[in-house]
Symmetry: C2
Subunit: 217 residues, 2 copies
């Protein structure tokens, strides 16, 4: 929507217009990343936001800087999900809730996992948050095992495996994708429980950096 900047001083009107463009760009980028993952081009984003390509590059010189801004809220949310888990005194509930919340975020936003695991030179905060999340997952895993709630042969790789499996879900609507993800996570969590666990094949050497954007339908 255009701004009524006609009655402002020229410099202020320019700042307001620039801020509006910035907001429109970030909103368009979020929508496109959510639908199709991080592979969308800067041209696609300019077209969706209704600004020129030159304006887009003036605000965001690289796609990485735009990804960083578009996902800043979710990356923070993911970090706070892990912090909430670490603050929970019940080790199994903490472990379960963190995986449920992270998988739910991944199910509604195709760009999220890619943004989280990509290494962006312009967005050093992501690396720090990812490292913190990995440490947090490790600590939650250790606690759940010590409490005897999580199977002894569970490894950190199994979290990556769950996130990869969750990223494979493709559905016609976001509601179906979320329902499918919930059921998958519930099944996997039952398999992760220590009770009645049968032996598993060895864990494959998969780290979070192996996650990529899920397919575009």
């Amino acid at each position: 929507m255009p701004t009524d900047s006609s009655r402002m001083p020229a410099a202020e009107a320019l700042r307001v217009d620039a801020q509006h463009n910035r907001t429109r760009i970030v909103e368009a980028a979020r929508e496109l990343f959510a639908d199709a993952g991080l592979d969308v081009t800067m041209t696609d984003i300019a077209r969706r936001s209704g600004v020129g390509v030159a304006t887009l590059y003036r605000r965001f010189p690289t796609k990485e800087s735009l990804v960083a801004e578009a996902f800043a809220g979710q990356i923070e949310e993911c970090a706070s999900v892990v912090e909430d888990g670490l603050a929970d005194p019940d080790p199994w509930r903490a472990f379960r809730t963190v995986l449920e919340r992270v998988c739910a975020m991944q199910a509604v936003d195709k760009g999220f996992t890619g943004a989280f695991v990509s290494t962006f030179p312009d967005a050093v905060g992501f690396d720090r948050l990812r490292a913190r999340a990995e440490e947090g997952f490790g600590e939650l895993t250790r606690r759940a095992k010590e409490a005897g709630a999580l199977r002894a042969d569970f490894t950190f790789h199994d979290i990556t495996l769950l996130l990869m499996a969750n990223s494979g879900i493709v559905a016609d609507t976001p509601e179906t994708a979320v329902a499918a993800s919930r059921r998958l996570v519930s099944l996997m969590l039952q398999a992760f429980r220590a009770t009645d666990a049968a032996p598993l094949p060895p864990a494959p050497p998969l780290g979070l950096h192996h996650l990529v954007c899920p397919p575009t339908p």
Copy 2:
């Protein structure tokens, strides 16, 4: 490899050359489909096989006809996996083995699931085999439930969910992909067991036709 057709009658030499081209095209298509899914173009396939695009289209007028020939063996194998399962007197072993074998096929070949679930007008045999596989899965599910081996709230949609989850695996090597797939399938099968099953969220309405090719790394 070129054929030594110099000492054959001209018509026979032509036939031998044509057969060689056909074989090279199908081999190139199989390699490309396995690595990158069904999205590769006819031009890519011509380049990899070393034949001209015109020759490629003379042998295979549509990509569908080439997909059908490239995957004929695997579609037959998939059908025989289901038949083997139906012939097994142990309902749980039958159910488990069929899912393990189908997921192992899917793990090594990115094109397989896409080929299996796509509807190709030129390859009516696929539709028949897919329908037969769906019937077979349904019958194996029914028997495993009747035997009390499979959780009562398991639905046919959960097979699609497992295949989608399996298609989300991305790894640096085929060996890692297979190891990851084995571990995922083993976890899911433990969750599918009737023993100690906790309630699940509702099954999402996913059919095999919702499966798509997995992402190109």
